[in-house]
Symmetry: C2
């Protein structure tokens, strides 16, 4: 039993394929009688037109490619949630690619998305290599990035003001009277926003005349364990920090875990600030003071942007900076 096609419908309804196609696409040039006959047959057979065939002629797939590094990372899963919800509103579906943090796979996936003829791409890659740029040069459909500015390309990027956010987090700690404020930042090689957050941190220290100490800077990989390990080293310092700013929440949890397992307390002995405000942040004990990123909204905005671009609307600006917010919870406290 083959799948029913437009041809079958036409035959059953006693009209031509063209007419069926017309009712399918809501053309007004079709008589009520023909319309009804066709509709009846469609209902009876449960016929649904093949979107493959449609795509071939329309050059549109109604699919958006989404490329991320790790779907099991709460930040990305929340982002994807924002993307899919808006995509569904516009009748688009999501082809999900998970690069597992490998540059090579990222470029491969971009190629695949291109071959699959997705109507647009949203990506948050590990970084942007020349190969990424080569791809983008030849890819003619809408692309939007989140959290990653691709220099020299006028690709819209959805982000927050990471510099300011890093500044805000640090300033919060400074105002709580902390003098030795450590930071667990992103790797220097990481083209991620973590770097700008570090710049904000330095600026805040500078503005408030808090001396910058290189020993209070460690790199992390955004996983809890790296926060834990960094904190272990901080604690071994002859003069350990009384506050730690982590450029994401998971590392902050790792830091707290380390502090607690070393017989100290958060926030009594060490104040900790995270970044992102993933669900875990408010659930953790102590709950995390953190910089809230509107993650879901960022996904939603990105999706709306690709949609607009697909519809041919002009996008006036390249940077879509969403508001962040310092959320003060239990992990930070005034130092005596």
């Amino acid at each position: 039993m083959k799948k029913t096609t437009i041809k079958d419908i036409a035959k059953l309804a006693g009209v031509s394929k063209a007419t069926v196609s017309r009712v399918l696409n809501g053309s007004k040039y079709v008589s009520p009688e023909a319309y009804n006959r066709v509709m009846k047959v469609i209902e009876k057979t449960g016929y649904k037109p093949s979107s493959i065939a449609r795509s071939l002629v329309n050059k549109k797939t109604k699919v958006i490619g989404v490329l991320i590094t790790d779907i099991s990372n709460p930040f990305y899963s929340e982002l994807v949630k924002g993307i899919v919800e808006v995509a569904n509103v516009y009748d688009y579906n999501i082809l999900l690619c998970n690069s597992f943090n490998e540059f090579k796979k990222e470029v491969e996936f971009l190629e695949i998305l291109s071959n699959k003829e997705v109507d647009g791409i949203i990506f948050m890659t590990k970084g942007v290599t020349d190969e990424h740029r080569n791809f983008l040069r030849s890819f003619k459909k809408p692309v939007v990035t989140v959290n990653r500015k691709v220099k020299e390309f006028k690709i819209p990027n959805v982000d927050i003001d990471n510099f300011k956010a890093g500044y805000d987090a640090t300033e919060h700690l400074i105002k709580l009277n902390h003098k030795r404020i450590a930071i667990i930042r992103a790797a220097e090689t990481d083209e991620t926003a973590g770097v700008e957050r570090f710049e904000g941190y330095k600026k805040a220290l500078d503005d408030y005349k808090v001396p910058f100490d290189n020993r209070l800077v460690m790199e992390g990989d955004f996983k809890a364990k790296s926060g834990y390990k960094a904190m272990e080293k901080f604690l071994r310092l002859e003069n350990p920090p009384t506050a730690v700013f982590c450029v994401n929440d998971e590392m902050a949890c790792g830091v707290i875990k380390c502090v607690v397992e070393n017989g100290l307390n958060v926030p009594e002995d060490v104040s900790v600030v995270g970044f992102d405000d993933i669900p875990l942040a408010s659930l953790f004990i102590p709950s995390l003071t953190t910089i809230k990123q509107p993650i879901y909204d960022m996904g939603a905005v990105a999706m709306r942007l690709v949609y607009k671009l697909i519809k041919g609307e002009k996008i006036d600006k390249e940077d879509y900076i969403l508001p962040h917010k310092l959320v003060i919870r239990q992990s930070t406290k005034k130092r005596n």
Copy 2:
């Protein structure tokens, strides 16, 4: 500038479309000279065949539809990760549908996946209504479920032994000398595995002659907040539980949060067992004693199953039960 097609390659290489197609598909009936000429042109132009057109003739899209309720739920994001990793190995891509826990959307998405002509579907829906069944009756391609047995259909289901797991968790608490063991279970209307876990709980109580008390049973929605609220009620009991078994980790964290905020301690005053072993479980303070589900593997196995089915291999059994494991951490303790 139009996209280069097989026709262009043929012209540039001075051969026919058929020959180009042959080199593309690795046919051996093509002379080395022709092969080289074609390959050279392909390289130079960076030509990639349209998978849309291919799909139309092959009736294969190399896409698997994945339907879940909530990608931001760590359980599902980990599961999806397992799915995509294996899918990539087999050169398949994932069309992700997020039902946001609405029955109606679930069925809609199934229809969409069908129209998009995905080669197979993996789904973990909220439940299975008659409409789901109707769809499955007419859908002729491979379907695999995770964590949800569709009765009366011989659809492979990947799962753990939820009854046994619920038993194990409860037994652990009983052996720690707890007599008043509460459970936060899934709603009775929920067709989810949470129900079987409850059965396991009851059986364990029965086997060990621990009296079952209906007041120690609450329903949760798998979110932390519902665990928190349930625990509030338990604490108001004249004779509160000394141990709580939650059918997922997030509710367990909510329970602990509630206990702590009421001036009590975990595990000293109340022991708590979770379920799933999501990353949060080991990170939490205190770290969670929980039933570890091999979530990633479940995704991987499900994907391998659809792949086999697509390849026409016969699947001998319907139930793929993966091993679970009781992981004892800090949230449970012997009662004096």
